[in-house]
Symmetry: C2
Subunit: 213 residues, 2 copies
DNA sequence: TTTTTGAAAGTGGTCTGACCACTAATCTTT
DNA sequence: AAAGATTAGTGGTCAGACCACTTTCAAAAA
């Protein structure tokens, strides 16, 4: 009978251990030798599990010191997979399209509520006037305002995975366009807002940003 | 000086090797012992690299046979993302809503193409008539037809976390409703299709499935 | 006493060699 | 020719040994 691989058990056992003992990012994890003894496996098996987690950026190892739980911002999943998976252009297209799905859904959600009347909305408008306002800030703000944190997280991860389509500053011409989108949202005209957003976004990606420079 | 870890070098060397030798998904990779000799490192180092890639789903190992390059559809991007994306923001409502985002986007996508004229569409209609057609089958079929595999994967994952809102068989009354949705899609009337879908889905979740039993 | 030094203990990084469990190809027997 | 047994090759795991490095702390020097 083909047995399940031990190192995979170790991976999940370690996840449980981290949760049960409430180990926080930055904290130290028991040493490889300790883990091997405690879990009754060889050290090399422990290492196979640890190296897997390390490649994902979930843990950090410092020779001579020990192994530590990583800060979530250091998780490397996205970067890693992009180096292996991104060669397939179809996948890349899927990523871009899925991002767009979340973005338009966010706009739809905002239009469906009275979010445009909340104080955060005013602060949004104010920040748009700042001279160093980035394109990414605009979209992220929309995602946050949608109120769906899961959607926001997925979007954020996809963004890194897609090579940052919203890189760069907002030019004065663009600012007018964005203001129109916000106005449409304020009037709860989802259709117009989405139309405007898609126009802006398609110019960014297909036009290689030339129009705005 | 703290030297870079060898197993990381191995990871990238293997990526290069795969590209240069044009190894395709399903093909066999040199054995661990061969790689160890060729790259002049210990077998355990090779294994640390291989186990990392295996956790990502980039390779597959079969004891007694060898190590093989995985099909891209087996990559574990989404699964791994979920293990720590869903941890803190796993509000059930967000999950359900995000699922819905992907579902409506799928319908929208199908309506935008001529998918309803493809042979797969007929097979879809045929399967709907089967007596053991599950609700989940209906939605999954839509997700597949959208053509966005990433979106499909995300949806599939969310489904597991959401307590399977589409559990159960399709009742005869339901079948009429679903047929209407499909007809709207066939006529490329996205708005009507989505309206119909949301009506069906909201009855399922809020009505606790009572109406259909 | 305070500071410096350095030896020891502990940790991750790597290699080697040895089994085991399993598969597939080969050889042997029927 | 077919069925069974052998064997070579593969991944899975373990134990033990070094190495390079960091921290600690006690001994030596100031």
């Amino acid at each position: 009978m083909n047995q399940p691989k031990r190192y995979l058990n170790i991976v999940s056992e370690m996840r449980d251990m981290i949760r049960e003992q409430n180990i926080r990012p930055g904290d130290r994890i028991p040493s490889e030798r300790e883990l091997a003894e405690k879990l009754a496996v060889g050290r090399s098996t422990i290492r196979e599990a640890l190296r897997s987690l390390e490649l994902l950026g979930l843990i950090e190892t410092r020779r001579g010191e020990g192994t530590f739980l990583s800060e979530p911002r250091n998780h490397r999943l996205v970067e890693l997979l992009s180096t292996f998976v991104l060669q397939d252009s179809k996948s890349h297209e899927d990523v871009r399209e899925t991002m767009c799905i979340h973005e338009t859904a966010a706009i739809q959600a905002i239009c469906g509520t009275d979010a445009a009347k909340l104080p955060v909305w005013d602060s949004f408008l104010g920040r748009l006037e700042a001279h160093d306002f980035k394109r990414e800030d605009f979209v992220r703000e929309l995602m946050v305002l949608s109120g769906n944190r899961l959607s926001l997280k997925i979007w954020f991860l996809l963004k890194q995975y897609s090579g940052n389509p919203y890189d760069g500053d907002v030019s004065p011409e663009e600012k007018k366009l964005l203001t129109n989108i916000l106005q449409a949202i304020e009037e709860q005209d989802a259709e117009a807002a989405i139309r405007g957003f898609k126009a802006w976004s398609s110019v960014l990606t297909k036009g290689e940003n030339k129009e705005w420079r």
